[in-house]
């Protein structure tokens, strides 16, 4: 393990130097960490990657002017240059009435332990073995699994320190353990290939799914795509599985970002307090879920994270905001400042999820006489300004309430406003595999384009 730098001293020095240069306010963010990943393909090690990284970023304010800069070089000379460069940059930009640190009395006081760090260190052989087991389980699951893009196991740990001229100094540590498998299946008749994948990710190693279960699920998702065909163009109900529903929720998350809103680049402008979806839809952003992949005790500006009700029983109740976008909209920050080291804050979700409903996914499928169960979406056909939605899709065609045959090379299209209003059923199957999670949902009708 590397020797730990004294970041308290380092950040204090930089803030003092920025002040000496005449800055009226500043914050410093430092991140450092180690990552180790292995990739196994067809039983053999394909790739090992080991890395240690660190980065320091400074943001300065000269009254209403602001700039940011960052470096990976922690030498005294480099840090001095960072301070003077950042201050020089700030002189070149325009004054912005809304710029500035959050008010000092809003800074996070208590930094709860959110159970985000696991000191487990896996050695190379152990990680290779986990990846190997996951892939082997996928390969053995079905004779039609003929090849593999490989299996990855990745572990990382690091810390983030944030300090500002209000005297705030916060630090939090986190770790993550992730495993994924991408098998390839071949159709014995046509010779056509399909690939899919499955994964698991947790902050604590002990909570990770077994490699065998990840491999089996990857195989199941891949084999069921074999023999996929197109369907004819029509309008029909569409069921989004957990993964694709999550991507839909991610679209909503972008649209409630304060930045998209004040720039006029969201279809949800002026919709606060209005009905977005039926009563059955409630959506939270909760930065304090213990062990959550999006949890953190303080946000990118040092404000406390919290639980925000974004959609309450169908009503759009809150946007997601940091200090700047909040000021632009005349609202208070929701503690969602998200920030790369050396960047100015933007808004990001913490743990953003739809509260599970009561319907079992199998019931949801049974409710459809003819329609699409969508398991994969590709492309970038989402227009945040208008909500227009048109993406490439693959999945399974539903006939008489049953999954009948796989489909591909089709698109599903609609408008996000109408799609959310048209959510007919919400599943009971919420599972967190990332910062954004959604149960299975059914949308009443969308345009499906195919033959």
């Amino acid at each position: 393990m590397r020797q730990e730098l004294d970041l308290k001293e380092l950040t204090g020095d930089m803030l003092a130097k920025a002040t000496q240069h005449g800055a009226s306010g500043a914050d410093v963010m430092v991140a450092d960490g180690d990552t180790f990943s292995v990739q196994v393909r067809l039983g053999a090690v394909d790739r090992l990657t080991k890395a240690r990284e660190k980065r320091v970023g400074l943001r300065v304010f000269f009254g209403k002017r602001s700039a940011s800069a960052s470096t990976s070089d922690f030498s005294r000379e480099s840090l001095d240059r960072l301070v003077s460069d950042t201050c020089a940059l700030a002189a070149a930009v325009a004054e912005d009435e809304m710029s500035g640190l959050p008010a000092g009395d809003l800074m996070a006081h208590e930094l709860p332990d959110l159970d985000l760090y696991d000191p487990t260190v896996l050695d190379t052989a152990a990680q290779i073995e986990l990846a190997r087991r996951a892939e082997a389980s996928a390969m053995a699951a079905d004779a039609r699994i003929t090849n593999s893009e490989g299996s990855d196991f990745n572990s990382s740990a690091g810390r983030v320190v944030l300090a500002n001229t209000h005297g705030f100094l916060g630090e939090h540590r986190s770790s993550s353990f992730a495993m994924s498998v991408s098998p390839i299946a071949t159709d014995p008749d046509s010779g056509g290939m399909q690939r899919d994948s499955w994964y698991a990710v947790q902050r604590k190693f002990a909570r990770l799914d077994s490699p065998e279960s990840v491999g089996l699920e990857a195989a199941r998702r891949t084999v069921r795509r074999l023999g996929a065909r197109k369907v004819t163009t029509r309008r029909a109900p569409v069921i989004f599985d957990q993964e694709t529903a999550g991507s839909l929720l991610a679209n909503l998350c972008s649209a409630v970002s304060g930045y998209a809103l004040y720039k006029g680049a969201s279809f949800l402008i002026g919709q606060l307090g209005n009905r977005l979806a039926p009563e059955t839809v409630t959506i939270y952003d909760n930065g304090r879920l213990p062990g959550g992949l999006g949890s953190r005790p303080f946000d990118g500006e040092g404000l406390p994270t919290r639980r925000t009700t974004v959609v309450e029983r169908g009503i759009l109740a809150s946007y997601l905001l940091d200090t700047y976008s909040g000021r632009k909209l005349g609202l208070a920050s929701t503690g969602n400042a998200s920030r790369g080291v050396g960047e100015s804050p933007s808004v990001g979700p913490t743990n953003f999820y739809m509260v599970p409903g009561t319907a079992d996914p199998s019931e949801i499928i049974r409710s459809v006489r003819e329609g699409l169960y969508v398991t994969e979406l590709i492309g970038f056909g989402v227009n945040m300004v208008t909500g227009d939605y048109s993406r490439g899709a693959a999945g399974i065609w539903i006939k008489n309430g049953e999954l009948a045959y796989p489909v591909e090379e089709i698109t599903i299209a609609g408008n996000l406003t109408r799609m959310f209003a048209d959510i007919e059923l919400v599943g009971n199957d919420l599972e967190f595999r990332g910062r954004i999670a959604c149960p299975t949902i059914k949308i009443g009708e969308m345009t499906i384009a195919g033959n």
């Binding site: 890395a51 940011s68 950042t86 492309g379 970038f380 591909e408 090379e409």
Partner: protein, 477 residues
Amino acid sequence: MEQAAELDQFGLTEPEVRHALGKVKVRDVDYADLYFESCVSESVSMEEGLVKRAVKSVSQGVGVRATAGEKTGFAYSDELTRRDLEIAADAARYIAQSPQGAEPLPVTHRARPQRDLYPVETSIAEVATKDRVELLNLIDAEARRYDPRIKNVMASFNTEYKRVVVATSEGLMIGDVQPLSRLQVTCIAEENGNRQSGTFGGGGRIGFAFYRELDRYIRYAREAARQAILNLGAVDAPAGVMPVVLAGGWPGILLHEAIGHGLEADFIRRKTSAFTNLLGARVASEVCTIADDGTLPFRRGSLNMDDEGTPTSRTVLIERGILRGFITDRLNARLLGIPLTGNGRRESFQSIVLPRMTNTFMLAGESDPQDIIRSVTRGLYAVSFGGGQVDITNGKFVFSASEAYLIENGAVTRPVKGATLIGNGPEILTKVSMVGHDLTLDEGIGTCGKEGQSVPVGVGLPTIRVDEITVGGTGRP
């Protein structure tokens, strides 16, 4: 011309680098290399008529790689001391079966790239921030002048200045200096509660003067504004199978998604591409010839050498419809026994080398672009696209039009919005029946993502007719 990047800029000497290489290049290792990189990037952005943000980022480090058979060991460090190099070397060579038995290295051959494709007098990073700020302010004014319905203008100037040195176990030591910049404008138009956006921009491995030449920055502002205003009057895109005419330039993203990725040699070696085993087979109609060319001066996708020190080249991928070649890096060229094309690329020292495209385009044909449009009774004319994506295993690709029109009885009529095209890579080019004589390269804004790594790329296309493709909109077929 700027001095080529040299090792001493990284505070290291040749013996130190040889020592580290010697540690990695043990008996079972086929090949090892060290990739030194220093990169300064700067971004200045404007919105609401104010240049509010300026961000600068400095990074440097080394990536150490060893390959043995199909295996790759890789480690990187953002510290460049002799000791950090050794730690990384030890980690990288772990993949060798018996990490012992050092072998003598060949004598170092210090080289410079044979070409200088981007001799930039003054890198944009050296242009005063206030000059860039001024250009952004002019763009804002120009876009708002275009039409009073333009309500917001967002523009950003991103520049990067990268120095790299590659040292290989075969004795090569070669460096390059790689400038890159991009100017992008997004406009939001509003009328009676209808809000639409338009985006345009350009760039390349060029100097600051590029944006003022031919009033390019003015054109970017007007184009972004024009697209936003156009979309105010756009109708819903049709849904269903129909002929599509693709305009020249950026619609070449079709080739990148539908064809290019599937011809990258890592997928071919693993037999996971839909194009595996199709070398020599017909994958496109007679009128289609497609090349990947990293040697076009000043282009965003061009490089004097790839990130393994191999000179870039022009590779014919498809010749008159027949699949002729793949896109390779060292590892995959060696394992497949096929030519090295100089396409080994990485996002940074923190990422491994993968075979990646450079500038990918279709060569000009013989048809008149107007005749191509006239040949369609009912279909879509797609002029510009947002992004695209492909599943290289089943070959399915999609891409989304940001500017498109209906073609009715041989004439371009109403603008449509929200059109997504979906098709099958190995099939789509067999349906190309006409290729225009108007090959156009894109403006220089493309970024390609693969395995989480982003690299700058270029695309190009003449006007072409695709006889049938599925259009996914919400309108009537």
